[in-house]
């Protein structure tokens, strides 16, 4: 008898583990992908650094502690020295601390802009994909108009419209530019869902329209949008840096930001290229990390690649 029970349990266990869900098989493939591991490592370090930067930074990033050196040497940039591994900037602030703390702004703006853009895109995409007809036409023409403008140019125009730039206007400007990307992607997969068998089956059961959209169509349309958002994060970080570089970002220079740091050192770039190189390399590495992760995620979740 005991043998019978354990046998039954064993069969159940086997049955439980035999089915492989899309998420599980995707994870299996991701774990073996070196590209994904590199991307994930970069992102992991980036997030850790930005969260812990107040404690990691050796000095207060807004403290002009090296200003004497700047003044004494007639606007010379403080070189690397004990306690200041990367030296100081034009205003005598510790460059290494500014670089560490600057990651916070990048994370906030990148994630904030992506989330707002995602929300906007989900609303528009759901409207277009679920209702169809003239609503679809209006939303999609609007999206076409926005996509026809170069995204960076559009972000500049939106940011420039605000009289007083702040962190929030940067986030908003970058977010609005991302909305059409999400909206079009979601609408496409919603349309495919609308003609799918299980939506027809739900309709044949008299399920109400709202439930069909939110329980049957939307959850099945989300995976490309989720993947896209990791790719958009990279774009958002670069665009936010570009806005700050051009002086359309947060004017409060006590809060360090990589794009702004790049802009500040434009005049001394030929004599002190390292001041530009460090923030630029940080931006590139983080954007690359998100792109690597997003691309491998997209490939792993693509059912066509499933074996």
């Amino acid at each position: 008898m005991a043998l019978g029970v354990s046998k039954k349990e064993k069969i159940d266990d086997l049955a439980d583990t035999a089915g492989v869900s899309l998420a599980a098989s995707a994870w299996k493939r991701l774990r073996r992908s070196p590209v994904f591991l590199i991307g994930a490592t970069i992102i992991g370090i980036f997030i850790m650094v930005s969260l812990l930067s107040p404690w990691l930074a050796p000095h207060d990033p807004s403290d002009k502690m090296l200003i004497e050196q700047v003044v004494k040497a007639r606007n010379e940039i403080p070189p690397a020295q004990p306690g200041h591994p990367l030296g100081g900037d034009l205003q005598g602030r510790d460059f290494f601390s500014r670089l560490l703390v600057g990651s916070q702004q990048t994370l906030i703006v990148g994630v904030g802009a992506t989330l707002i853009g995602l929300t906007g895109g989900l609303i528009l995409g759901t409207l277009a994909g679920a209702i169809g007809g003239w609503v679809d036409s209006v939303v999609m023409r609007l999206v076409d108009v926005m996509l026809s403008l170069p995204s960076l140019l559009l972000a500049f125009s939106i940011a420039a419209m605000f009289a007083r730039p702040s962190q929030f206007t940067v986030i908003l400007a970058v977010a609005i530019v991302q909305i059409p990307v999400f909206a079009r992607l979601l609408r496409g997969s919603m349309l495919a869902q609308r003609h799918s068998d299980h939506v027809l089956a739900a309709t044949a059961l008299g399920v109400k329209k709202g439930a069909i959209v939110f329980r049957h169509m939307l959850p099945n349309s989300l995976s490309p949008v989720i993947v896209q958002s990791t790719l958009v994060l990279a774009t958002a970080i670069i665009e936010a840096a570009a806005l700050s570089f051009l002086g359309l970002g947060n004017p409060d220079d006590r809060i360090p930001e990589w794009g702004q740091m790049l802009g500040d050192v434009q005049n001394v770039f030929d004599t002190h290229p390292h001041l530009a190189a460090w923030p630029a390399v940080c931006i590139i590495i983080v954007a690359l990390g998100f792109t690597l992760m997003g691309e491998t995620l997209r490939e792993a979740l693509d059912p066509k690649n499933r074996r």
């Binding site: 159940d12 439980d16 089915g19 869900s21 899309l22 799918s196 068998d197 299980h198 027809l200 089956a201 739900a202 309709t203 044949a204 059961l205 008299g206 399920v207 109400k208 439930a211 329980r215 049957h216 959850p219 099945n220």
Partner: protein, 332 residues
């Protein structure tokens, strides 16, 4: 009065700039309470479109549905979208062909069963879950408590189709339309699914419209059979006379093209020559004439009428006479 009376059901698909296409052309049949009626034919003969038209599931734009579908005294084609939604799932159930794609892949089976119960019977989630367990039990899914929490991809094909049947019958509909419910399944599983359907339909007194191209399914299940060709019913008879003496050359051909266990070794199968695409419009004669071994000159000149011939409804100028051998062998 019959539970479902379909009269002159016609579905015309029209795309801008294209010729209208009559997918279903004046189909009429009755379903009595508890009766099982078969709609049989090759792919493209209009069986599935007929079922979608009855359920009101054809797209509003592009498909024109005419005729009447009287269910329990009301014409379903005249109901508003909302009234129709209330009827679907509660009084009219439907089971589709492909059980995997007909289930929502991201929702556990349990929630898909309770969704109907909550929608139509107003049950709370907890009561609905208990009822869902009973339903899965009834369709023969072992260990229903565990299955309720599982996702469609974790179930086998047969279990998925059982789950779909449970969902379709959850609110005890008076009419169940099954659109090729066994096509995607193994033969052994087919038999199990058919047995479950037969049993449940008898227990609940549900009338069943069985849409299939599989004459074996018809033989095992249906009381009355409608053979469709080119969107029209060409032969309508009870099961036994139909199988014993098929009169329409198309029905005859369908039966002759089935491999038989009792055939002599080496005996060749007799396919129907041509394909469904080799049609002439019904307005100019008989759509089956180009493929028909019995075709006469009149068949390409005059549309055959649906007539009471030889003890059944038949649409043919030159029916198969009992005792004639199967149509001549066609070199393939």
């Amino acid at each position: 009065m019959a539970l479902l009376e379909v009269r002159d059901l016609t579905v015309v698909f029209q795309r801008r700039g294209e010729e209208p296409f009559r997918a279903v052309d004046g189909v009429s049949f009755d379903v009595e309470p508890g009766q099982t009626v078969g709609l049989v034919g090759e792919s493209g003969c209009g069986k599935s479109v007929t079922s979608l038209a009855i359920m009101g599931l054809l797209p509003k734009r592009g498909a024109t549905v005419t005729g009447t579908v009287t269910y329990d005294g009301t014409d379903l084609l005249k109901l508003s979208d909302k009234q129709m939604r209330d009827k679907r799932g509660s009084e009219l159930g439907m089971v589709f062909q492909d059980p995997l794609s007909s289930l929502n892949p991201v929702i556990p089976i349990g929630l898909q069963v309770t969704e109907v119960l909550e929608r139509h019977r107003g049950l709370a989630r907890k009561e609905a879950m208990i009822e869902a367990k009973n339903l899965l039990d009834k369709v023969g899914i072992p260990d229903p408590n565990r299955r309720l929490k599982e996702y469609p991809h974790q179930l086998s094909g047969g279990m998925r189709q059982r789950a779909l049947i449970a969902i379709a019958l959850a609110c005890r509909p008076k009419l169940l339309i099954a659109d090729e419910p066994t096509t995607a399944l193994d033969v052994t599983i087919q038999a199990q699914i058919l047995a479950v359907m037969k049993e449940l339909v008898q227990d609940l007194g549900t009338a069943l419209v069985m849409i299939t191209h599989d004459l074996g399914v018809v033989a095992g299940l249906c009381d009355e059979v409608n053979v469709l060709y080119g969107g029209k019913v060409v032969e309508k008879a009870d099961r036994h006379p139909l199988f014993a003496e098929p009169r329409h050359p198309y029905t005859h051909g369908l039966l002759a093209s089935i491999p038989r266990l009792d055939a002599a070794p080496g005996e060749k199968l007799t396919p129907i020559r041509g394909s469904v695409a080799d049609n002439i419009p019904w307005a100019q004669g008989c759509a089956f004439a180009p493929r028909c071994p019995n075709a006469l000159d009149v068949c390409v000149q005059v549309t055959p009428a649906e007539e009471d011939q030889l003890g059944r409804l038949l649409r043919c100028h030159n029916p198969v006479v009992p005792g004639t051998p199967a149509a001549e062998e066609v070199p393939v």
